[in-house]
């Protein structure tokens, strides 16, 4: 278990500031979208809150699941690294806990997680991890000022355009996910 700087890789709960959908009141469309979004969504306050707008949730989940889970392209552990760096950078304790765990499961180590919790800007156990972390922070903090200089380190490491786009998608969708988690409710710490 890692606890540093207000972040943790423990499993957390999340409490909604709105009234989550009561599953007994769900329409067939809401049930269908909940089931295609996440395996535990029928008991998740987060998904039950988003289910108030089922079509918006459907397309969000389709994008999210394709970005984070689709085979090929950028290794999934590196997509999780990008997600974790963005979540720390945005101060999203809940998202950080989930994606620190996913990174640990996929990479089978936690050294990078400790570094990201300490300082995402300098984190990484290899040149490739450091380049991914720096790119994730640049996209998160100064999207208006991104330029060729931000892409060059990734290309220098041999990343193809498809892999850079995978990383860009993973980093950008945590701009989306963090904002929902932090503005519709709050994490419940153990």
């Amino acid at each position: 278990m890692i606890r540093r700087n207000g972040f943790t890789d423990e499993s957390l709960d999340w409490r909604s500031w709105l009234a989550p959908l009561q599953i007994a009141d769900a329409t067939p469309l809401q049930l269908e979208v909940l089931d295609e979004s996440h395996a535990q969504s029928r008991t998740s306050p987060y998904y039950l809150t988003l289910a108030h707008q089922p079509l918006m949730l459907r397309h969000r989940s389709a994008a999210y699941n394709a970005i984070m889970y689709a085979p090929g392209g950028l290794p999934r552990a590196e997509r999780e690294l990008g997600a974790m760096v963005v979540s720390v950078s945005n101060g999203c304790v809940y998202c950080t806990s989930v994606h620190a765990q996913r990174f640990e499961q996929l990479a089978r180590r936690s050294d990078t997680v400790e570094q990201v919790f300490d300082d995402p800007a300098s984190a990484g156990t290899s040149e490739r991890e450091r380049a991914i972390a720096r790119f994730a922070i640049a996209v998160t903090e100064r999207p208006h000022a991104l330029g060729a200089d931000d892409i060059a380190p990734l290309r220098a490491l041999g990343m193809r355009d498809e892999e850079i786009i995978d990383l860009l998608h993973a980093v950008a969708i945590f701009g989306w996910a963090n904002r929902l988690m932090q503005n519709l409710g709050e994490p419940v710490l153990p």
């Binding site: 500031w17 707008q53 394709a66 200089d149 498809e162 980093v171 950008a172 904002r179 932090q182």
Partner: protein
């Protein structure tokens, strides 16, 4: 929807804002993740055009243009302004809740840490129900994603000439 290139499914909102066209290697590289391309465009359409009680498409377009302008995403801001100029209800007065919506959207865009329970209560006090608040939060959060994808693609495009043999 009412986008100018609705007749050409090969070019979506993100392509257009990033300056990509069929034949461009980056346009093709995006299609490696066709599901992401489709879901991003479908999200855009649903978030702006799906009917929501108490949240008009026109006010959503005003929020989107405001967010993109504030974030320095000029090409996307132009897109939402053009959609607003072409919207059926463009001349109807905005909702009295629009100032509260813009304040919520601006804070959420510039720093996601600024979100707090009081911001949600302010939207409720302005008359928005929970389903409308979910729609507004999804829209603003989606824009954070969309403008970053566009910015990243533009940076890749800018660097492509030097990097390719």
């Amino acid at each position: 929807m009412s986008t100018p290139d609705a007749s050409n499914p090969e070019i979506d909102v993100i392509d257009r804002a990033a300056g990509l066209a069929p034949g461009d290697p980056l346009h093709a590289a995006r299609r490696f993740r066709a599901k992401v391309v489709e879901a991003s465009e479908a999200s855009h359409d649903a978030l702006l055009h799906q009917p929501v009680e108490g949240l008009s498409t026109e006010d959503r377009l005003r929020v989107a243009a405001h967010v993109c302008t504030a974030a320095g995403a000029a090409s996307l801001a132009q897109h939402y302004q053009a959609e607003l100029a072409a919207a059926a209800g463009r001349d109807a007065p905005p909702s009295p809740a629009l100032p509260a919506m813009l304040q919520f959207a601006g804070a959420l865009t510039s720093d996601p840490r600024r979100g707090d329970r009081a911001a949600i209560e302010a939207l409720r006090s302005a008359g928005l129900g929970d389903a409308a608040i979910v729609a507004l939060a999804q829209l603003v959060a989606f824009l954070a994603y969309q403008l970053r994808v566009v910015a990243g693609l533009r940076a890749m495009h800018a660097g492509a000439e030097g990097a390719r043999p």
